[in-house]
């Protein structure tokens, strides 16, 4: 072993260690930020290791440097700008977009190697070795393409650029996707047989498969899909690692792939849905129109902000249930002002966080943290559920499906079995909502019909602002 090989070996080992520590640290609140920086450092270290290895062995040609610099500058610049500019509410879409680009990168690497075989592999032709090469190229292209198109579709759906077309809910879609899957298999074997041109077929068909699988999935399930696609991009990276013979790539890719799978499973558990039903069950709302889940509201009580303020003033314990609507209205700071007033009045305020509130697990935590809500006031579902009967007022802000009692009572409901917050157990429930539209699942919410529920119609931010005014008039929180 000569020096460059030893240096690269040591750096790679160190990078793997740091990446593992980074992922580990990201799972604890205290260490998360440092862990993220550690992982970023490990990534830069791995680049230094690779470049120093080539500098010490074959050398790096001038034109290579030029293209390296062009690619890095453009990619990093756009990434950094987007990361700085994007609002916190669009986090899920942003992660989906980044993820898709990671998949695209793996796809391009495999494509490049497939079209222009690297000189290193040609020297001593070995059937077994070339077979492995073809297989890893195909896997990298297949998974990379699915990751890319799937992530882009997921992003477009979350942004509202794409809705779920009706035809994708029919059984035909399974047939279409099976055709795509078979076609990719054919292209795969054709490619291994040495027919290089079928690589384009593989690219096209697996891209279509990514679209076909993601498009029918309802918005409520999108977080799971993004997490799964995140896992895929890890697998694509590992496959690319086989293509260019890099252990570091394989380890890192495999770690992300496995970690992504675990996270996906955690999310599925939170919604009480299996991965299979998320992927093949289609959108929830499409099922509910067929079942008894939908229907008209019969007993809606609407109330003014003033009444809401009066009830809040008299309360001892208030639980806030935030949802996606809060994020859309960007009302987290206004909410914080309201709760500050209540707290100053000696009212106990707690935030109930459903595991899948918002469009991503942890979405609400991030949002409320932005508004400086103390971490201790955020309670997880299992912790807070027994507290509802002893609670005077529940404020539901832009949450819908996660407070639907149907999930407990109505076995014919598509939501049945999903763990929900038992807000109806509280003395009074106020639902702040723009209109009577259904939640992301498209299912009627029985909560709104209950006698102890009052609807306060309006944009969350505006209602909360009005609420501050009313509380001020009542002298709440002023000494």
């Amino acid at each position: 072993m000569n020096l460059p090989v030893i240096i690269k070996f040591v750096i790679d080992l160190l990078a793997v260690l740091l990446l593992a520590l980074g992922i580990k640290g990201l799972s604890k609140v205290k260490s998360a930020r440092d862990a993220n920086r550690l992982a970023a450092f490990a990534m830069s270290l791995s680049v230094v290791g690779l470049l120093s290895y080539y500098l010490g062995t074959s050398g790096i040609a001038i034109q290579s440097w030029i293209w390296i610099i062009i690619g890095s500058i453009i990619g990093s610049l756009f990434g950094a700008i987007l990361a700085k500019k994007v609002p916190m509410t669009s986090m899920p879409e942003t992660v989906a977009l980044f993820n898709g680009c990671g998949g695209m990168s793996s796809l391009l690497v495999a494509l490049g190697v497939a079209i222009f075989p690297l000189s290193a592999g040609q020297e001593n032709f070995d059937f077994f070795k070339s077979l492995i090469n073809e297989v890893s190229i195909s896997v990298s292209i297949f998974v990379g393409a699915i990751t890319f198109t799937g992530s882009i579709v997921a992003m477009a759906k979350l942004q509202g650029w794409l809705s779920t077309p009706g035809w994708t809910q029919s059984k035909v879609r399974h047939f279409v996707n099976i055709v795509f899957a078979i076609a990719s298999l054919i292209a795969f074997f054709d490619l291994i047989n040495g027919n290089t041109s079928s690589i384009w077929l593989l690219v096209i068909v697996s891209s279509l498969l990514g679209i076909g699988v993601t498009l029918p999935i309802g918005g409520a399930d999108m977080p799971v899909v993004i997490s799964l696609l995140n896992s895929y991009s890890g697998i694509a990276a590992a496959a690319a690692g086989f293509v260019v013979d890099s252990q570091l790539l394989i380890v890192a890719g495999a770690m992300v792939g496995a970690a992504g799978l675990i996270l996906t499973q955690v999310m599925c558990k939170g919604m009480n849905r299996s991965l299979v039903s998320v992927l093949f069950g289609g959108s929830l709302s499409a099922q509910s129109t067929a079942s008894s889940g939908s229907g008209e509201y019969t007993n809606i009580t609407s109330c003014s902000v003033e009444e809401c303020a009066l009830t809040l003033e008299a309360a001892n314990k208030v639980i806030i249930v935030p949802g996606y609507g809060l994020a859309v209205a960007q009302a987290q700071h206004t909410l914080r002002e309201v709760t500050k007033k209540l707290e100053q009045n000696g009212i106990e305020v707690v935030y109930a966080i459903h595991p899948v509130a918002g469009r991503m697990p942890g979405h609400m935590n991030v949002l409320l943290a932005e508004a400086d809500v103390p971490y201790e006031q955020l309670k997880e579902m299992d912790v807070v559920n027994p507290d509802f009967p002893a609670t005077d007022v529940v404020l539901v802000l832009g949450a819908n499906d996660v407070v639907n009692p149907q999930a407990k009572n109505d076995s014919s409901s598509p939501l049945y079995g999903m763990p929900v917050l038992d807000v109806q157990e509280a003395r009074t429930v106020f639902v702040i909502k723009r209109g009577m539209s259904a939640g992301y699942s498209g299912i009627k919410n029985d909560l709104f019909d209950l006698p102890n529920t009052s609807m306060v119609f309006g944009d969350a931010k505006k209602v909360l602002n009005d609420l501050i005014g009313e509380l001020k008039d009542l002298g709440v929180g002023e000494k």
């Binding site: 990446l19 990201l26 609140v29 390296i68």
Partner: protein, 97 residues
Amino acid sequence: MSFVSLLWVLLLGSLLGLELIGKVPPTLHTPLMSGANAISGITMLAALTLIVKAEANVPLLIIGSVSLGFALFNVVGGFFVTDRMLAMFSRKPSNKK
């Protein structure tokens, strides 16, 4: 490296990934996903390898460069976005009076 040892690397890497995040508070799901996503941009190493080995093959250089751009978009954006999210958690103690 032989294929078999690469498979071992794959296996052990996967097991490591499964072990690493046993218990994660829901708070950290989004940052963890985003951070893991940034790490999956490690394909930038593959793109770099491609560019270095392409020598004078211009189309391959371009493919490698575009691939590198996509990967770095993923890496740089991913880490920044994760940091932004996590900054909100760590900011609180200093604000408390």
